[in-house]
Symmetry: C2
Subunit: 434 residues, 2 copies
Amino acid sequence: MSKKQIKVGILGLGTVGSGTARILQENGDSIKLKVGSDIKIAKVLVRDLSRPRAVEIPLEALTDKVEDILENPEIDIVVEVMGGIEPARTYILKAMANGKSIVTANKELMAKHGKEILEAAEKNHVAIQFEASVGGGIPIIRPMKRCLAANDIEEIMGIINGTTNYILTKMTDEGSDFQEVLAEAQKAGYAEADPTADVGGYDAAYKIAILSSIGFSSRVSFDDVYFEGIDKVTAEDIEYAKDLGYTIKLLAIAKESPEGIEIRVHPTMIPSKHPLAAVKDVFNAIFVKGDAVGEVMFYGRGAGQMPTGSAIVADVIDIARDLTHDIQSRLNCTCFTDKKVKKIVDIESSYYVRLDCSNQPGVLSQIAGVFGENNVGLCSVIQKGSKVGKEVAEIVWVTYQVKEKDLQQALKELTSLSIVQQISSVIRVEGGVH
Amino acid sequence: MSKKQIKVGILGLGTVGSGTARILQENGDSIKLKVGSDIKIAKVLVRDLSRPRAVEIPLEALTDKVEDILENPEIDIVVEVMGGIEPARTYILKAMANGKSIVTANKELMAKHGKEILEAAEKNHVAIQFEASVGGGIPIIRPMKRCLAANDIEEIMGIINGTTNYILTKMTDEGSDFQEVLAEAQKAGYAEADPTADVGGYDAAYKIAILSSIGFSSRVSFDDVYFEGIDKVTAEDIEYAKDLGYTIKLLAIAKESPEGIEIRVHPTMIPSKHPLAAVKDVFNAIFVKGDAVGEVMFYGRGAGQMPTGSAIVADVIDIARDLTHDIQSRLNCTCFTDKKVKKIVDIESSYYVRLDCSNQPGVLSQIAGVFGENNVGLCSVIQKGSKVGKEVAEIVWVTYQVKEKDLQQALKELTSLSIVQQISSVIRVEGGVH
């Protein structure tokens, strides 16, 4: 045994930083037994030294100078919980150059600069862990890297953004509109003042890039992910979904096929009996399908001070165990292969299409004809009634599994038809049409 | 790097052994990338060398002499998939004494002799992993040891036996009787010819002993587990459960409180809206509640050739990674503390009690009186009608959270009343009464 105490520096004392500190303090005794040595919070970087804190950190451990952590020879592990690309990226690279191992919750950084960060860890012979970057406290990254290592992963599908799931749950349960529920979620603290990262699908895109990289052993970065947010989902779509036996969720989907891998985030209709349809509010759930294990699911709180802190401290414990026994980490980057990422036009899916058209004889067959000419097979059609004094009919179409490019071509042709007023919604359908 | 090839010996080539071999062969290329060295099946112990095999093993790798594995200096890792206590225990101890690391799926052995096995691993400086012993392919042991290490675990609750869950699902969906569904399950291959280990609750008891030991960092062995099987659950109970808004599942429950830990397996009524109520057929699901992470759930196929093989090969990969880098395992036994296990009479629970009594005035109040005198608070009562020409009334009682010993005392006193003909069923209720 080479070390009796492992010293940790924390960059940031916001929600997640405070949770991390609290857990290290409150569960310190049992953590010490698990690690075999003491884990001490040596320094915490804060912006304002004089601000009152929700968590008790000795005054001498607080600093507003990042060098006190990055260049402190006593510190073994740096926990980065600032978020965003800069200065987090620079700090992490400096810390690694100085021989420190890293624990980060930074999904944006890992999704955009994962290659650089992991290569720097390799080069500097330090460990980097990022369990907290996906699914909050839900164990998912380590289970995929280790517990499912025997499998070739075929598919990952999950709800990995709590804010949008909260909003969609409310919209579904209460029949309310997006804007209305968003305002409510902001008030309740479930959505940020600027909600773009969540409702625009960015956050889920970062996370699925990370999971896909691990699952397919091939680097997937943020630019490889096709993503849409939930801001265009309407109360009408949710109502139609219910009629059709579906629930709308913001799903992150990653699949591998001989033609390449596809990675996408978008509002998705799934059968209401699908286990993911029952995942409500801010909860997250991730299905992983392996060729040996079949489908396994991981479920829990995908965010929050203590759950995210739980994942960060688990990473700290893991690294601290290695340091205690003077072992060098050997499970940083697992992207051993280089797989082609499909373009969104090359994927296949079922689609729900809602459109307004003239309420006159022959319209239905004309539209169906355009779908047919473009190889878009139709599974079901709903025409409930008419709008605007019977001049406009709203029709909902659900297609079989078709090529995205064929669907897009059909939509393009439909838009140019004089009988079609507007295409109101296009939502992909997963889990089988019926 | 010290090794280019890791050699594995497998004890047993039944269902799980064959799955293990298949995965090591079929996914060998990607496993090699993950481990950093080749994993080779060096020897497989079989009973009959001439029997045809479902998996292709070179004839020279087969042996019917266990020494070819246990005393083979080339073999690094021994996979034990024979099951049962002996000779598995002796073989594992011998293999460890000869410096071999162990992967086992043997829940009975780990639940009954875990201490001995883990101490032997420690003494011989070898690794032992047993992910496959609980939940088949579902990652649960490593996630609990590592990913949830920051938490003090407060509760574990799950469906961890596929056979009984299949039977209870059929009984619930079809209204059939236990014996009828058991026969059907045996025909379908979901239940053994001798179903005792599953339907009697033994299998789940082994597994919860293992999970509790890890969760509470304190050795819980099979003898510490209170368990009941599902053989006394009747179609009537399931019908009443539905009326009351519950579903009956065989749950394994482990809780920690200041008075000690309680570990039990029994048929349990849970609210039909509880996520565990939706876990059907042979699927398993395990809730773990930590003080930081809150509740997380792990879900998947709890048995089967390939899922169980997936867990075993993950363990092999984990150990092989360490061996490749000449690192000694340091995460064998995690029972750092010694916690008191409560007796079943000292637990608290809600209860469903179904009894037959004389159909005459004053009976209800007399029975309620006995409950009351014993501090058993009543939440609901159902009397649907009468049996045997109106002479006998069947009454169902649901209690609030009460002490088991008080409930038992009340039942004892009720049995001695002349107006009570029989106590037909007593089933614990979890997840809140309503």
